[in-house]
Symmetry: C2
Subunit: 253 residues, 2 copies
C-alpha cells in the first residue's frame, strides 16, 4: 500500500493510496488515530467513485464524531481506474437503455455480478494492507457500508469475509443472485429501501431483506428515491455501527 | 381532572387521575416539569392498560432522559374501567376464535373500530384537561405513541387532532378502515412492522404505510413478533420525538 497524496481539513486527514491496481482513500482523525479505533469500509454507488460527495460527507462525520477510520476504494473501472472493453460495453448498454426508456435491470445485474466478483478479493487485499498499518492493526473492529453497487459488492464481501462484523446496506437493485446469497449473511445488518424509487423496485428489496440469514437485522423504509439516501452512514446508521463496533470515547481531534 | 394517587421512584413522579369516566396516569420529572416540556400521549396495546410494563418503562425513560411529561389513559373497558356487555361479547369472541385456531382479524377489526370511535373524544378531553394544568399549559408540543390498539386509536386521533404534531406507531392489524383513513395523516410519523408476526400480517402493514399522506414518514422493520416491540419509545423513537418536539436540555432531576 503506497500513500500517494494527502490533504487535511476540518480535523480529517485524507490520504490517497494505491495497492497494485486498486486506488483508494483513507479518512482518519487529523491528530492521529486512537489504537483499536473501528475501521469502516465504504462502498460507493454504481457510476460513482471513492470520493463521491455523499461518501465523503459521511466519512468526515464518522471520523470527527466517533474517531473511526474510513476506507474507500474505486470499484473496477470506476474513479481513477481505467475501464476495460467489456465494462465499457455494459456502460454503453446502460446509456442506450436509459435513452430508449427500457429497463436497465438485466444490464445492471450482469455488470454488478461481474464487478462484485472482481471487487471482493480487492477489498480483502485492502483489509490485509490496512491491518498491516500500525495505526489500524489487526484488532480494530471492521464494518461495511454501501449503496447500490456498494451493496452488490458489500453483500458478497461480508459473506466471504469474517473480519467484517457489522454492515449497513442502502438501496440496491436486488437481483436474484443477491437474494440467493442472502441466507449466508449472518452478521448484524441494516437495510434501507427508498419507497418511491421506480428504478429499484420495492418488492425485491423486501424479498432480499426477508432472505437475509441474520437474526439481528432491520429494514428502514423512507419515501423518495435512492439518490436522497447518500448519507447512509449518518444518524441512525452511525448509531448502529457504534453499537456493534464501539466508539472512541474521546475522538483525538 | 382529579388526581387520585401519586408515587415516585427513580426520579419519576407517577400520578393517577380520573376525568369523568376516564382513568389515566401522568408521568413527570419528580423535581417538577420544566415549562414548555413536550407532552407525550401513550396508547396501550389491546387487552393491556395504562400501566402496561412496556409503556411504563418507555415513559420512565422519556421522562428521565428528556424531561418529557407522559400521559396514558385506559381505553374503554380496559384497565380500571368497567367493560360493557357489547365489549364483553367481542372479548369472548376473541378468546373463542383463538381457542378454535380461527382468525381473530374480523373481531379485532370491529372491536378496534368501536374502541377508536369512543377513545378519540376521550383523548381530546384529556388533552384539554392536561393543557389546563399550569405545569403543562397550551404551549407544550404534543406527540403520540402506541402499539396495536394504541395505533388503531392513535391514527384516528392524530387525524382529528391538530394539536398532535408527531407520532410513532408500532405494529398494528392494519384493517381497511385504517388504510382508508391513512391519506389524511399528514404529520411526521414513524411506523414499525414486526416482520415475523403471523397474527399481524406484513402486507397490510406495508399497504398502510404506503397509504399514509405524510411526506415525512418512515417505516422500520424488525424480525420477530409484535410483543417484542413494546419499548417503542426507546432509542430511535425517542430520537424521532426529540427531533420533532424538542427536548429539555437539562432534565430537572
Amino acid at each position: 500500500m503506497q500513500f500517494t497524496a494527502q490533504t487535511s481539513s476540518n480535523g480529517v486527514l485524507e490520504r490517497s493510496f494505491t495497492l497494485g491496481d486498486i486506488t483508494g482513500v483513507l479518512f482518519s482523525p487529523e491528530s492521529g488515530s486512537v489504537e483499536g479505533a473501528p475501521l469502516l469500509l465504504s462502498g460507493h454507488s454504481g457510476g460513482m467513485h471513492k470520493r463521491a460527495p455523499g461518501l465523503v460527507a459521511s466519512a468526515q462525520h464518522v471520523v470527527t464524531s466517533k474517531g473511526y477510520t474510513v476506507a474507500a476504494i474505486d470499484a473496477p473501472g470506476h474513479g481513477d481506474r481505467p475501464r476495460n472493453a467489456r465494462d465499457q460495453q455494459w456502460v454503453d448498454a446502460l446509456h442506450a437503455a436509459r435513452a430508449a426508456g427500457e429497463s436497465m435491470d438485466p444490464i445492471i445485474t450482469d455488470y454488478n455480478i461481474s464487478l462484485a466478483e472482481r471487487a471482493v478479493p480487492e477489498w480483502q487485499a485492502t483489509i490485509d494492507a490496512l491491518q498491516a498499518l500500525p495505526e489500524i492493526g489487526a484488532g480494530a473492529p471492521i464494518g461495511y457500508g454501501g449503496t447500490t453497487l456498494g451493496v452488490a459488492i458489500g453483500l458478497m464481501l461480508t459473506i466471504a469475509e469474517p473480519r467484517i462484523t457489522a454492515a449497513v446496506f442502502g438501496p440496491v437493485l436486488a437481483y436474484q443472485a443477491l437474494i440467493d446469497a442472502a441466507p449466508q449473511l449472518t452478521l448484524p445488518v441494516e437495510f434501507t429501501i427508498a419507497w418511491d424509487d421506480e428504478e429499484i423496485g420495492r418488492e425485491r428489496g423486501l424479498e432480499l431483506f426477508d432472505a437475509v440469514g441474520s437474526t439481528d437485522k432491520a429494514l428502514h423504509i423512507y419515501p423518495g428515491r435512492h439518490q436522497r439516501m447518500a448519507t447512509f452512514m449518518a444518524d441512525n446508521h452511525a448509531r448502529f455501527f457504534e453499537k456493534h463496533l464501539g466508539r472512541i470515547a474521546e475522538p483525538a481531534i
